[in-house]
């Protein structure tokens, strides 16, 4: 029990370190959020805007924004560790690697959620989409999605740290692996914004994504140590 408490305390400390750097410079949050907002503006020009078309396409817009901004944020968050060569220090810290990993994933989840907090209302406003008709389920699926992106993303962003073409390779690795997450996210959102909302379907995809997150979290914890070696 004490171990478990220590685990959370250490993970929270790593996460807080990342978030505090971010709060001081605000570099990643500002750029990610601005990029997300730009995406929304581009969508508004690129897609038809009648009500039925919007209901059909807005789930895709939301999740594509999260995917794009998530990869950008992940790349930058780990670039910071590389520029100052602090990844080694982090890995040398006298705590299990699992706690370092959890901390990084936690901080990344917060960043992705920051984008979602801005993008979702923007989509609802600019496109007049009924995204907030059922806020509870929507928040649940977006949080689960952010966790999934952050968990899988942190593993591979950390392994790609020293690789020259990491910016291109991160999405190459991530998107095929995250397809179930995006499908679950878009299907659930689509079920919620449909003219006749389908709560059974929405709940099915929420559970699906919950299991996906749990499985990949365990797998990431298990693999992180053997993948990330300096």
């Amino acid at each position: 029990m004490a171990d478990l408490m220590a685990l959370f305390r250490h993970a929270a400390r790593v996460a807080w370190k990342d978030l505090r750097i971010e709060l001081r410079s605000r570099e990643i949050v500002y750029t990610m959020v601005f990029f997300g907002a730009l995406l929304v503006v581009i969508y508004s020009f690129a897609f038809p805007k009648d009500d039925r078309a919007i209901r059909g396409s807005v789930p895709g817009m939301l999740w594509v924004s999260l995917a794009f901004t998530g990869t950008i944020g992940l790349g930058r968050a780990f670039d910071r560790e590389r520029e100052n060569d602090t990844m080694r220090a982090l890995l040398l810290a006298p705590v299990p690697r699992l706690e370092v990993f959890l901390g990084k994933a936690l901080a990344t989840t917060a960043l992705v959620l920051a984008v979602a907090v801005v993008c979702t209302p923007l989509l609802a406003v600019f496109l007049n989409a009924p995204l907030f008709a059922y806020p509870g389920q929507l928040i649940l699926i977006v949080v689960l999605g952010a966790i999934g992106i952050a968990v899988v993303g942190s593993v591979f962003a950390a392994t790609l740290l020293k690789v020259r073409s990491r910016d291109v390779l991160l999405p190459v690795i991530l998107y095929p692996l995250l397809v179930p997450l995006f499908v679950a996210g878009t299907s659930c959102t689509a079920a919620l914004v449909a003219e006749i909302p389908n709560f059974d379907a929405a709940w099915y995809w929420i559970q699906f994504l919950g299991i996906y997150d749990a499985v990949f979290l365990v797998l990431s914890i298990w693999v992180f140590e053997s993948l990330v070696i300096e």
Binding site: V155, T159, V179
Partner: protein, 237 residues
């Protein structure tokens, strides 16, 4: 024995392939059906059906290739023995090629049978997504530098674990002749012999490709290691 493996399997594959082209086109029955008035049915596939032999022949060993590369990656991460990585990456290279063959032949068949090149039908979706993971693996393996082997095997393991999710995600299956009886049980008797002949020749082809690829990957790695040792010792510049 080791030196003979590649020529042996390549020869077997060549003979098998030549024989199966003959058998498929001249021995196996043409697929056609009549309607009640005795006219050819619009759904008759005639020669188009022949592509099935090559499509399924590749699809079978695509699955084997994927299993081999998944297992190889797992063993590599556990043991750090580069021979497992050689096996996994070679098998994935072959899997990408086989997967491309499966997708293209399937697409040609679909144009004849369903009148569309592509349909977002569960098995097609699944094969495409699997193939994307494989291509990602090869790209990482090639462009991620010295740590590419580790990252790629991590990707293989994550890809393996995401398969059940993909499977659950794509839902019900409507692929031809893939019901409870399986592909083979639903084949007309005259097509079974040629079918198994093609499947066997493509297995030999797969084995020949993987072994030769493993040998060249290992040689590449050994040259690299020797060079690094030479640099360390100051013998090489």
């Amino acid at each position: 024995m080791k030196k003979l493996a590649v020529p042996l399997f390549a020869t077997l594959a060549a003979i098998g392939l030549a024989a199966s082209v003959y058998v498929v086109f001249f021995v196996a029955p043409l697929e056609y059906s009549f309607n009640e008035a005795g006219k050819f049915n619009g759904s008759s596939l005639f020669l188009n059906q022949k592509i099935m032999y090559f499509h399924v022949g590749h699809a079978f060993w695509l699955i084997l290739a994927v299993v081999v590369s998944g297992a190889g990656s797992l063993m590599f991460l556990r043991t750090r023995d580069p021979k497992w990585d050689d096996l996994a990456s070679s098998s994935t290279d072959v899997a990408v090629v086989f997967g491309a063959v499966v997708l293209v032949t399937g697409s040609i068949w679909a144009k004849a049978a369903w009148d569309v090149w592509w349909q977002w039908e569960p098995r097609l979706t699944l094969s495409l997504l699997l193939w994307l993971v494989l291509v990602g693996y090869v790209l990482v393996r090639r462009f991620a530098g010295a740590s590419g082997d580790r990252i790629a095997s991590g990707m293989a393991i994550f890809g393996m674990i995401s398969l059940p999710f993909l499977y659950k995600m794509v839902g019900q299956d409507s692929h031809p002749a893939a019901g409870g009886n399986g592909v083979v049980a639903t084949l007309p008797p005259g097509e079974r012999g040629p079918f198994w002949l093609t499947v066997a020749s493509f297995l030999c082809w797969y084995i020949a490709l993987v072994i030769s690829r493993v040998q060249s990957t290992r040689a590449e790695r050994e040259v690299r290691e020797l060079r690094e040792r030479g640099l360390d010792l100051g013998v090489l510049q």
